[in-house]
């Protein structure tokens, strides 16, 4: 069922950096602010109020567009389609930045709960860098046991008593879990491969008490929820039935779910919480905002950062959910978009999982990184 409410125009604050074409944006784990990556492999920090800038620093040797930045301890990892670079988090004083590089591309980069860095590398598998106090020197490559998997996105899930697993969006090869460490990991992981679904993203639901709850995103805008990836064999799927849109990104925070497509940003208030409570979610209602965005990520100060072709929108979560004015402060530039409420057609189904018959860790290789002067 679809029912559109009247759309209203709203103003959105935008952020632009001079001489810096933003390709990726995310929050800073230390000082409150934003980290940006550029189309030519540079990174730059900006404080929340825009008053303090660090960089830009040329990081990626390939000078390709940054598609992810992650932090672990004092280390920073920057990924492009051609390389993954590791360095100590740059400070405001500038100067020479010592880097080590893995000369192979990744679709992004993320940190794990134990402080490792992980990067999805397509058919090659997953890059894993264990935490080290000094600059990283070596990485491991985890090859998935199933060669059909093309590792496109990966997220870490963990609990102190049950261990750590990786959840992977594997394109047409399926949605897979790979055990990483811990006492509760008796198996070699498992895979869900519904017919015709092309998995393009995955996100932890990030709700207290559900450390292994995830949502995987299909290119067809289907959202596949699992309450406990270690224990459940059931998947609940929300079909947006949107043949006119392609899914780009799923983000989950505070019990809400955000979906970025090639045409819109959808905000499903309390959807993750409702699913985890066991409530029916086939009447999900979403706020939607017309946006032709490049990418989106969770930002600082309870915001989403939406990368547009020429700028970045920092959008307050409360404003998106309320359907009101998402301005977060005095606008530097103004853009207009439409914000409306849509009730989206959905249904639920169960999926069946296949277990892997061998461990992906047996096929890992360890590689020396190259130091960049």
């Amino acid at each position: 069922m679809i029912s559109d409410s009247g759309a209203e125009s709203v103003k959105i604050r935008t952020t632009c950096l001079p001489n810096f074409e933003v390709s990726w944006a995310g929050g800073s784990p230390g000082q409150p602010g934003y980290w940006f990556g550029s189309d030519d492999g540079r990174v730059q920090f900006m404080s929340l109020d825009g008053a303090e800038l660090i960089g830009p620093y040329a990081i990626a040797p390939s000078e390709e567009a940054v598609n992810g930045i992650a932090f672990a301890g004092g280390l920073m990892a920057v990924s492009t389609r051609n390389d993954v670079t590791f360095l100590k988090v740059p400070g405001p004083r500038g100067g020479h930045v010592r880097r080590t590089v893995f000369h192979g591309g990744a679709h992004g980069v993320a940190s794990t709960h134990s402080g490792s860095i992980i990067a999805p590398m397509g058919r090659r598998g997953i890059l894993l860098m264990d935490p080290r106090p000094e600059t990283a020197q070596r990485v491991r490559i985890l090859k998935p046991a199933d060669e059909a998997l093309y590792i496109y996105k990966v997220v870490s899930l963990a609990s102190p008593d049950r261990g750590t697993i990786l959840a992977c969006a594997g394109r047409r090869g399926g949605f897979a879990t790979l055990p990483l460490a811990g006492a509760g990991l008796e198996n070699y992981g498992k895979k869900l491969r519904p017919v015709g679904v092309d998995f393009v993203d995955v996100a932890a639901l990030d709700v207290d008490g559900f450390p292994f709850a995830v949502a995987a995103l299909g290119l067809d805008c289907s959202i596949h929820f699992v309450r406990d990836l270690l224990g459940d064999q059931t998947t609940t799927t929300l079909h947006l039935s949107s043949r006119r849109e392609r899914a780009y990104r799923i983000l989950c925070t505070e019990g809400h779910v955000f979906l970025l497509t090639d045409k819109r940003l959808y905000a499903f208030k309390d959807l993750a919480v409702r699913f985890l409570r066991g409530e029916a979610i086939n009447d999900a209602t979403a706020q939607s905002m017309d946006l032709e965005a490049v990418d989106a990520s969770l930002g600082p100060d309870r915001s989403l950062l939406v990368v547009m072709p020429d700028s970045v929108y920092p959008l307050k979560i409360d404003s998106i959910l309320a359907g009101g004015d998402p301005r977060t402060g005095p606008p530097r530039n103004d853009s207009r978009t439409d914000l409306g409420t849509k009730r989206l057609p959905t249904d639920s189904d169960d999926g069946s999982w296949e277990s892997f018959e061998k461990t992906p860790l047996e096929q890992s290789e360890e590689l020396e990184l190259t130091e960049v002067l």
């Binding site: 390939s62 000369h103 679709h107 490049v294």
Partner: protein
């Protein structure tokens, strides 16, 4: 790159602009093993050739003279996949004189290890995407996504 005349059938018609012959290389049509990129089985030979024909016409080429192409948009305005792993771009290595050209779906990531990749850029180079944008094949937003190795 010489690939021999026994490695697949040749399209009966040459390209309209340059008169290039095109070979459907078996390696990329189900006989190349897991490591070889594969054209979608549902993509007809005529459709595969059409990607090459348009690439020859529009010349989105890199500094080596290799050509790159995409399928025409579908009714929803999306660029369809052309490879079995969701690839949306095809690469056509420069053929030697009088040899037929061939092509394959291009992996979006640079994959070689450190010893082979020092200083090498991703494929295709960013100039190819800029050319595609200038031709109106892709939008500014889509160019930025392709820069990152993202799907469209």
């Amino acid at each position: 790159m010489s690939i021999g005349e026994t490695s697949g059938p040749i399209h009966p018609v040459p390209t309209r602009r340059s008169g290039y012959l095109y070979l459907f290389y078996n390696k990329h049509h189900g006989r190349g093993g897991h490591e070889a990129a594969q054209w979608l089985p549902s993509l007809s030979r005529d459709d595969e050739f059409a990607v090459f024909d348009v690439a020859d016409r529009d010349d989105p080429s890199d500094e080596r003279g290799w050509l790159y192409g995409m399928r025409p948009r579908d009714e929803a305005g999306h660029i369809p996949d052309l490879g079995t792993w969701g690839q949306q771009i095809a690469e056509f290595p420069l053929a030697r004189s009088n040899d037929p050209w061939h092509g394959y779906p291009l992996w979006p990531l640079g994959e070689e290890g450190p010893e082979n990749r020092k200083g090498e850029k991703g494929r295709p180079s960013k100039s190819v995407f800029l050319r595609m944008q200038a031709l109106g094949v892709i939008t500014h937003r889509e160019r930025k996504k392709l820069y990152k190795g993202d799907h469209l």
